[in-house]
């Protein structure tokens, strides 16, 4: 059961091969036996999961099952989930039980999906390795000495290990796509505004976006259809119809114009990753696509612009953690300022403090124009690069990350860690959608191919990724870790 995709599980449930309760129990058992070696879950919600599975089985028996009814998934612990601890990977929220559901959670429950629990992540989604979690690092099921990527590292590792067929992630600078690449799964970051951010704990509000992580593009299409759409409770969600993302999956790729940004194949790219990427692109040529080189000339300004904009927004968003209304509170505060300062000093981890300090500094008097305004101007130039490229080609392709998953503990220096996100960060600044699909291995560690499109072209990206997965079997490979004899 744990090897199947969501689409395959849906057919099996329909055919009565097993019930949602049996499937849920099987996966909860695997989490219980295997997750000690991965640390991919922060909370496993056994009772709620079985209750939701029973409800789904009852609905099915009455003929009320939809395409996602009774299918299990996991939620990154950044999604507020009513009655369930929602920690965001932080000591600050270790005792926070959310009084409400995020819109994404509400929609997935309404579709009949069964959440098995909340997955581990870099604290407040700040990180590229999942080493910044208060709950400890997650290990990569393909190689337990490697990181799973971040910040949605728990979601990626849990799917790769067959603990759950799909999981929800969020992506502010690559946090869905990079862990998907490192763990050999498929992960989609939708267009900014496509999915409601209501109830998703905010990191950088002009960049944050939620999306699906699963084995296949077909499964991501099912999930995106369930979570996308306008939400009155998120004023940045876009009032625009949601297409059926599954109907275009089968379209042939004849005549597809693919652009390869020359900046994504330059210095710093691991030659073995480049080789796998170029072999994947050759598959598209065999499917009738044409390939040409394009340029995104401001690529190298993306990381500097991001490390002004994201920390600035974070320093503002994280000011809500004051030790008064919710979250960690220090013992015996001397006065109100002491209450704020010590609660925040005790509740936040190192990387979060670093970004709050950078953001506060760059927004402070005398620095605003030189940093924040400048970064927002550069952001427009970065977006224009993509808009210009999409005048010439339909999609862009390149590696998701310059290297395969690195070793746990390998990147001690924050700046060298930030530079890992060179191919993913500009996408968030531009607000366009991107998907990472499994495209090979370097040794035992997976390589991801990133496919980018212009705003609101998710259906096309999913079609292109699905056609690749019809022609290759990288997405069907499973790590030895996922096997057990029970």
């Amino acid at each position: 059961m744990h090897d199947k995709t969501l689409a395959e599980l849906a057919r099996a449930l329909d055919a009565g091969e097993f019930s949602s309760r049996e499937l849920t129990q099987h996966l909860l058992g695997r989490i219980d036996r295997l997750d000690g070696g991965l640390n991919s879950f922060i909370s496993v919600t056994f009772d709620q999961a079985l209750a939701a599975a029973d409800e789904a089985d009852t609905a099915r028996a009455k003929g009320h099952a939809g395409p996602l009814t009774g299918l299990p998934l996991a939620l990154k612990d950044i999604f507020c989930t009513r009655g369930v601890k929602t920690s965001c990977g932080s000591k600050m929220l270790d005792s926070f039980v959310s009084p409400y559901d995020a819109t994404v959670v509400e929609k997935l429950s309404a579709a009949g999906m069964v959440s098995l629990g909340k997955t581990n992540m870099d604290e407040f989604a700040m990180g590229s390795s999942n080493e910044n979690s208060f709950y400890g690092p997650v290990k990569n099921p393909w190689d337990l000495t490697a990181v799973p990527g971040g910040s949605s590292g728990g979601s990626a590792a849990a799917v790769a290990a067959g603990l759950v067929p799909a999981a929800m992630g969020t992506d502010t600078g690559g946090s869905i796509r990079q862990p998907a690449a490192f763990c050999g799964i498929t992960g989609l970051k939708p267009t900014y505004g496509r999915v409601s951010r209501y109830g998703i704990i905010a990191y950088a509000s002009s960049l944050d976006q939620a999306g699906p992580m699963a084995r296949t593009a077909e499964d991501c299409a099912l999930l995106l259809g369930a979570i996308a759409g306008h939400d009155l409770r998120d004023s940045t969600s876009v009032a625009r119809g949601v297409p059926d993302y599954s109907t275009e999956l089968a379209a042939p790729l004849n005549g597809l114009k693919i652009g390869l940004p020359s900046e994504y194949f330059g210095d710093g790219l691991d030659p073995a990753v480049e080789k796998a990427t170029r072999e994947a692109i050759a598959v598209f040529e065999s499917l009738g696509a044409s390939v040409r080189e394009v340029s995104l000339p401001h690529t190298h300004y993306a990381i500097p612009a991001y490390y002004v904009i994201a920390p600035a927004e974070a320093s503002s968003n994280l000011s809500r953690y004051d030790g008064v209304r919710f979250g960690h509170r220090c013992d015996n505060p001397a006065d109100l300022i002491d209450l704020y300062k010590r609660s925040r000093a005790e509740g936040f981890g190192d990387e979060v403090k670093r970004r709050i300090l950078i953001g506060t500094h760059t927004l402070s008097e005398g620095f605003f124009d030189a940093y924040y305004k400048k970064a927002q101007q550069v952001r427009r130039l970065i977006r224009q690069d993509f808009l210009d490229a999409f005048e010439e080609v339909d999609v862009l392709m390149g590696p998701t990350s310059p290297t395969p998953a690195f070793d746990l503990g390998a990147n001690k220096d924050p700046v060298s860690m930030y530079l890992q996100d060179i191919y993913t960060i500009a996408v968030n600044l531009a607000g366009i959608p991107g998907i990472s699909v499994p495209a090979g291995f370097v040794g035992s560690r997976p390589v991801g191919l990133q496919i980018l499109g212009s705003h609101f072209t998710e259906a096309r990206l999913l079609n292109v990724a699905h056609q690749f997965q019809q022609a290759t079997d990288w997405h069907r490979r499973r790590p030895a870790f996922a096997e057990e004899n029970v």
């Binding site: 300004y301 030790g323 500094h361 101007q377 930030y418």
Partner: protein
């Protein structure tokens, strides 16, 4: 733009983040290197380029000024560290 110990302490105070001198010293180096990386932006000519705040250049939607939520104060205060009679408790501010 180089960063000094006093800049870190100033940002920490503005952010209401308690840092002792040793901890602040630890951040001077890290933050300095991040700002050095960020300073690369200064090399780019952005004259006449409008800042981009929203990737779709969209403006905030407006709605009618009507009550849309019900009162859930008790439930929302259940996750607060210290509450009494519907009020949040903090150290005395006014003597």
């Amino acid at each position: 733009m180089a960063l000094e110990h006093a800049d870190v302490q100033r940002a920490a105070h503005l952010a209401r983040l308690g840092l002792n001198d040793d901890e602040a010293a630890g951040y001077v180096d890290d933050l300095g290197r991040i700002l050095e990386m960020v300073d690369m932006l200064q090399a780019l000519d952005t004259g006449g380029v409008a800042p981009l705040a929203h990737p779709l250049d969209a403006t905030q939607r407006l709605r009618a000024d009507e009550v849309t939520e019900s009162d859930q104060r008790d439930e929302f205060q259940r996750c607060a560290p210290a509450v009494e009679n519907g009020l949040y408790l903090v150290p005395r501010v006014v003597e």
